[in-house]
């Protein structure tokens, strides 16, 4: 009999990083499988998902925020918002969690070789994009120019802020940060993410745009991108519906006939246009 797909594998939280504070705080958990062999077998692509178990509280599907190029540790960046994620925020280094996966299709990084990559994120939508831009930054010869446009409600809500500033300083990618409302000492753009995209007017030539964030942001970002000449097949996003099993059995994450946990979460806008409005 093949391995039980519902069985989580024990993993140790090696480090916890506080990304943002407050009621909806965000933390990054750096996690290693206890079993070396499992660690080696867990091969994932940027944009894939994993089901995390917090003992006694349940499971939550979280996108993998690290890139396979950054070693065997997995990173999960989690906002404290639901029942399981709230408990997750009590985890400390050295504690055990359960991990099963990886799930989903991930980003088609191979198809994007030779292209410029434009990442557009909002709020807690950045972690899945981080998996892809880290992969691209670690494979500079494979991709053209990399641009990261990212915004949050306030400067305190920006995740990976230090890391993004380092990337910007290194010159490996162009990073454009924004916040929704003006703050003292903020040197970047003030306004919503789609407005920042409009202001920057990135070229659509030989460029793939990848966006993730609140549904309403994605909607308006896509509108801007189409205005800039991006073809629907060159715009990608991740749709993360509620999932319980992660393996296409429990029946809730579908958009029409498509199960997001198996065929997604990454879809091109071209694919989304052909889907029923069920998300």
């Amino acid at each position: 009999m093949p391995e039980n797909p519902y069985l989580p594998h024990p993993a140790i939280v090696r480090e916890v990083r506080q990304e943002t504070f407050g009621e909806r705080a965000v933390r990054t958990f750096i996690v290693d499988f206890e079993d070396e062999k499992r660690s080696a077998e867990f091969r994932y692509r940027p944009g894939q998902l994993a089901m995390l178990s917090v003992f006694g509280k349940g499971e939550s599907m979280i996108s993998i925020a690290s890139s396979p190029t950054t070693g065997r540790s997995l990173q999960f960046t989690v906002m404290r918002v639901g029942r399981v994620t709230s408990i997750m925020h009590y985890l400390e280094a050295g504690e055990r969690i359960g991990v099963r996966g990886p799930y989903g299709n991930g980003f088609p990084m191979d198809d994007w070789e030779g292209k410029n990559l434009l990442f557009i994120g909002g709020g807690i939508g950045l972690p899945p994009l981080r998996s892809a831009y880290t992969y691209a930054l670690d494979n500079p010869s494979k991709f053209g120019e990399i641009t990261i446009v990212y915004g949050a409600r306030t400067s305190a809500d920006l995740v990976f802020r230090k890391e993004l500033e380092e990337i910007s300083r290194s010159g490996k990618a162009r990073v454009e940060l924004s916040i929704d409302k003006a703050e003292d000492g903020w040197g970047g753009f003030v306004g919503f993410v789609p407005a920042n995209v409009k202001r920057l007017s990135p070229t659509s030539e030989n460029t793939i745009a990848i966006t993730c964030g609140p549904v309403i942001m994605i909607k308006f970002v896509i509108k801007e991108l189409m205005g800039l000449g991006f073809k629907p097949g060159a715009i990608f996003t991740t749709l993360e519906n509620k999932m319980k099993c992660g393996i296409g059995k429990c029946g809730r994450c579908n958009i029409g006939p498509v199960l997001v946990c198996k065929k997604g979460p990454v879809f091109s806008y071209e694919q989304i246009q052909n889907m029923p409005k069920d998300f």
Binding site: M1, P2, N4, P5, Y6, L7, P8, P10, S53, F55, G56, K57, G58, E59, V81, G82, T85, R96, I97, G98, P214, V215, N241, K242, K244, C245, I247, G248, K249, C250, G251, R252, N254, I255, G256, P257, P276, K277, D278, F279
Partner: protein, 352 residues
């Protein structure tokens, strides 16, 4: 007719209890029995528990292959998950007298639980040790419409043995190797049927489909053209009627959706699987507050579209309805599946 097919056998009525005893020797037996005020498939320990004169059991076979609640995994205070105590035993389960439609429903549950690359081991272990003895429907029930949706009151799909009630007993047709084992085990109780009995059974088979009072429209086109029904105005109307109780999905033999939750008692944890329903708003509610199916119209649409459009578009020709009629018969608001299908079908013809 396959050459090695075993000729039909006859089980005299007086041998029925003995036959059930033989089945109990071979494994756990599930049969129609009184469960509170209804007749349902349940485990029996004594042949006398079996209700011989039953119509449709309240539920189909789902409850036997995917119980309403089950423990998937256990875990201890040290946070180690285990499947050791919870994977179903490889134990033979025999269903005596399921209706052919309920047996057919397993085709769609199989589609889901065996869909590669992940096999659901809980389902698979029960399914692979399941023996189904069907009882054909000589007199279909008021809400049945199997004949117009790919089924047959005496259909043999997924069955190991098909029984037909004739005067003085039952005609047995063994359909599979497992069915032959059952017949062999009970061979001293079986007789060679007379020509009259054979003819009577054939007459009953032929007459049964014609007795079906209800008919679904041709729904085969929904798998290719059904998406146009997504924006249909009918969903709002049916949604307004629905009270969201979920009974249609709980009694549907082709429904399989479930939830997974954790509970903890005395330092021991249990990861549970429980039936869930697309008719409940929490089914799809995101933590953010966003709900892709926020109203009853979208949830009624999901139930119908999944069975008649989404599933067959993923598994060609597999319309995930067997025409048992339970959803319509037991809906407290009289939401009638055939009426919905008729409206969709008529709308489709107008568009064409």
């Amino acid at each position: 007719m396959v050459n090695d097919e075993r000729p039909p056998e006859f089980l005299p009525q007086k041998n029925l209890l003995g036959f059930i005893e033989k089945l109990i020797e071979l494994g756990e037996v599930y049969a129609p029995k009184a469960v509170g005020p209804v007749i349902d498939l349940g485990m029996i320990h004594d042949p006398d528990e079996v209700v011989v004169d039953f119509e449709q059991t309240r539920q189909g076979i789902r409850t036997i292959v995917e119980p309403q609640n089950e423990v998937l995994l256990t875990y201890d205070a040290k946070s180690t998950f285990s499947e050791k105590e919870t994977l179903p035993l490889m134990r033979r389960r025999i269903v005596l007298w399921c209706r052919p439609c309920d047996a057919r429903a397993l085709t769609f549950l199989d589609d889901n639980f065996y869909d590669p690359p992940f096999v659901d081991p809980y389902y698979a272990r029960r399914r692979e040790n399941l023996i189904l003895i069907g009882l054909g429907c000589a007199q279909p029930f008021p809400y049945c419409f199997c004949g117009s949706i790919g089924g047959d009151p005496f259909g043999k799909e997924n069955l190991d043995v098909l029984m037909t009630q004739v005067i003085g007993g039952y005609l047995l047709e063994t359909v599979s190797e497992k069915g032959r084992e059952i017949a062999d085990h009970a061979k001293e109780l079986l007789r060679r049927p007379t020509n009259d009995q054979m003819a009577e059974a054939e007459r009953i088979h032929r007459a049964a489909t014609a007795k079906l009072r209800r008919k679904a429209p041709d729904v085969t086109k929904f798998s290719t053209e059904g998406m146009s029904s997504f924006e249909s105005p009918i969903w709002k109307r049916w949604g307004e009627k629905c009270i969201g109780c979920g009974i249609c999905t709980y009694l549907c033999p082709t429904c399989w959706c479930f939830d997974i939750t954790d509970t903890e008692t005395k330092g021991k944890g249990y990861r549970m699987r429980s039936w869930d329903s697309c008719q409940f708003p929490l089914f799809t509610l995101h933590t953010s507050g966003h709900n892709p199916r926020p109203d009853k119209a979208s949830r009624v649409r999901q139930r119908v579209m999944h069975k008649f459009c989404y599933h067959p578009s993923n598994y060609p020709d597999h319309i995930a309805c067997v025409g048992c009629g339970r959803c319509s018969e037991l809906c407290p608001m009289d939401i009638d599946l055939i009426a919905i299908l008729n409206e969709l079908s008529e709308a489709g013809e107008k568009d064409a």
